[in-house]
């Protein structure tokens, strides 16, 4: 179809400015110093301020180094995401392909139970976790953070994987049973490879939620397991706000998520809405 309605570029352009202004601002501010900030708004490097990489030196090894928290974030996010996507894939497959029965409860009830755990406001469980971790000596530990993020991520991982598995035609797995596969080998050999794009999308989305999470991190960590969002939040030093440092740290935390956004934008919808879309 030939494209019509070029007027659409006008409202789209306005929205691009709205979306782009804050993003542009965080990028340029990461290359500013005192003079680029406290003499009024400066927009363009080399034009109205002199860019500097001071903030980056500071953040990548100087006084407010993010290397430690960056490692914590990577370890916690990878571990929690791997476990919850694995557990969620199993559960999603079970929900999509079997008939569960417990008293009057059926598949829909178990699916609802699992997703309802994500509807619960996180603040409801975090204080209980704080107390429990205090006595289990899991406060401010990578293990403790991984555990709570597993709990936090399983519902969405299950929901997504269930809707991806439901979109697979069941015949292929049936053929595998005829070939002598059992449930587990059919799952691993047939279903998982066939839904690989969905699995990757689920992994990335789960990863992004853990990577960005703040409430659990601010209550359950203080030093040895702090994550990147905590580093962004604690930069208000005695000498006032270190705008440029926070911008550099923010960009470090945003960069991988932009890649996730590019990959996810289509899969996200089919995972969330599943059967509601045709």
């Amino acid at each position: 179809m030939k494209s019509r309605g070029l007027w659409r570029y006008i409202p789209i352009g306005i929205w691009l400015v709205f979306v782009g202004l804050p993003l542009w601002w965080v990028v340029v501010t990461a290359f500013k110093d005192n003079s680029g900030i406290y003499f009024g708004a400066r927009w363009l490097p080399w034009v109205d301020f002199t860019p500097t990489t001071d903030a980056w030196h500071e953040v990548l090894g100087g006084t407010s180094s993010v290397i430690g928290p960056l490692e914590h974030s990577l370890i916690i996010s990878s571990a929690a995401t791997s476990v919850s996507v694995f557990v969620g894939s199993l559960a999603g497959y079970g929900l999509a392909r079997s008939r569960l029965k417990l008293g009057f409860l059926r598949n829909d009830d178990f699916a609802f139970f699992i997703i309802s755990q994500r509807i619960m406001p996180p603040v409801v469980i975090v204080l209980a976790f704080f107390l429990a971790y205090k006595y289990l000596h899991l406060l401010d530990s990578l293990v403790g953070m991984t555990i709570i993020y597993i709990a936090f991520s399983i519902p969405l991982a299950t929901w997504f994987m269930q809707s991806y598995f439901k979109q697979l035609p069941v015949e292929i797995e049936e053929a595998a049973y005829i070939d002598g596969d059992n449930r587990l080998t059919a799952f691993l050999r047939i279903a998982v490879p066939l839904t690989l794009p969905g699995l990757i999308a689920t992994f990335l989305l789960t990863f992004s939620f853990v990577w960005n999470e703040f409430l659990f991190a601010v209550i359950l960590t203080s030093n040895r397991a702090t994550t990147l969002p905590i580093m962004i939040a604690i930069q208000q030093g005695e000498q006032g706000t270190n705008w440029w440092n926070i911008c550099a740290i923010s960009l470090i935390s945003i960069a991988p998520m932009v890649i996730v956004a590019i990959f996810l934008q289509k899969r996200l919808v089919t995972g969330l809405l599943g059967g509601a879309l045709k």
Partner: protein
């Protein structure tokens, strides 16, 4: 589009649909698959959630009905209704709930309008649409604390770009974050910036799933563009929109990190969301019992609102489908 999005899941019907039109021999095999009890697959998830979510929830309830002391070992002293009594008379709690509802209504409403507009704009082919889609998606992937901080810079009254633009246009500048009148709206603008992408993606997918013949028929009848949108597109889009609003509503009720960095809940308590209030009371003032009580009140409120919303939208959806 036939499946109502308010169905929590379509597991049973999905299996039935998949097994229906097949030869008898295969159907027998499908029967064995459908009767398979998948407990070994589902049980790990359910057990983990019981241990890591339901048990802490119960413990929260226990805490809210007692006074927690951690001085020498954990002690829960005396079953009491004092926390809940305090909550009912705590004007700060009610103002936090009022502010949270304010954000949910205005922000989710704004996201619906902006997301729908953008989805309609990018629905029909347009050169560069793929690039726009990616750019529009980025905000929702950014950490909430980073967004809160970015908007604190944007709205800064001395060094921020918004006021410099306003001054350049000779318009009056505003004390965005330091006035109780405007700070709540700054939160709403930030939330719209962050979450319109989700609404946009969901609604665009909904638009793309509308069958082309429905559109053709209307066009042959000579209906104008706006009438096609009103009479054909919006009714067909309604189920997705209802689902998307539900999703955003539930998440918006728990807004925390963005506000923590943008305003810290101020000025005064003007932008203290209920989660932020529970954090201040439960963790910073270290009143675990009261913090749990606030968070449970939020849970009750979110659940009640969610169920009411689903009950109210169900007849609407049914009417639109027929």
């Amino acid at each position: 589009m036939g499946v109502s999005p308010t169905d929590s899941s379509s597991t049973a019907s999905g299996v039935a649909k998949a097994t229906a039109p097949r030869p008898a021999r295969l159907q027998r095999r499908a029967g064995t698959l459908a009767q398979w009890s998948g407990w070994p697959f589902v049980l790990p998830a359910i057990l983990l959630l019981l241990l890591l979510n339901v048990f802490p929830l119960i413990f929260s309830v226990v805490m809210s009905f007692s006074n927690v002391s951690t001085d020498n070992g954990l002690r829960l002293t005396s079953a009491t209704l004092a926390n809940w009594g305090q909550l009912l008379h705590d004007s700060d709690f009610w103002s936090s709930l009022r502010f949270t509802v304010f954000v949910v209504v205005l922000a989710v409403g704004g996201e619906l309008v902006c997301g729908l507009t953008l989805a309609l704009l990018l629905w029909r082919p347009l050169p560069g649409a793929g690039v726009f889609r990616v750019l529009f998606t980025i905000p929702m992937m950014i950490a909430p604390v980073a967004i809160g901080f970015i908007f604190r810079m944007i709205f800064n009254e001395q060094y921020g770009p918004v006021d410099s633009i306003l001054r350049g246009l000779h318009l009056p500048t505003m004390q965005w974050l330091s006035s109780t009148g405007t700070a709540p709206y700054a939160v709403v603008i930030m939330d719209i910036w962050q979450w319109t992408p989700l609404m946009f993606l969901l609604l665009l997918a909904g638009l793309q799933s509308i069958p082309e013949d429905a559109m053709e028929a209307a066009r042959i009848d000579g209906a104008s563009g706006l009438r096609v949108i009103r009479d054909i597109v919006l009714p067909l889009l309604a189920p997705i929109a209802v689902m998307a609003v539900f999703l955003r509503m539930i998440l918006a009720f728990t807004i925390f990190g963005e506000i923590y960095l943008l305003t810290g809940g101020g000025p005064g308590t003007a932008t203290t969301s209920t989660t932020l209030f529970a954090y201040y009371q439960g963790y910073q003032s270290f009143n675990l019992s009261y913090g749990s009580t606030i968070s449970l009140a939020l849970l009750i409120f979110v659940t009640a609102t969610g169920l009411t919303y689903l009950a109210l939208t169900r007849p609407l959806l049914r009417r639109l489908r027929t």
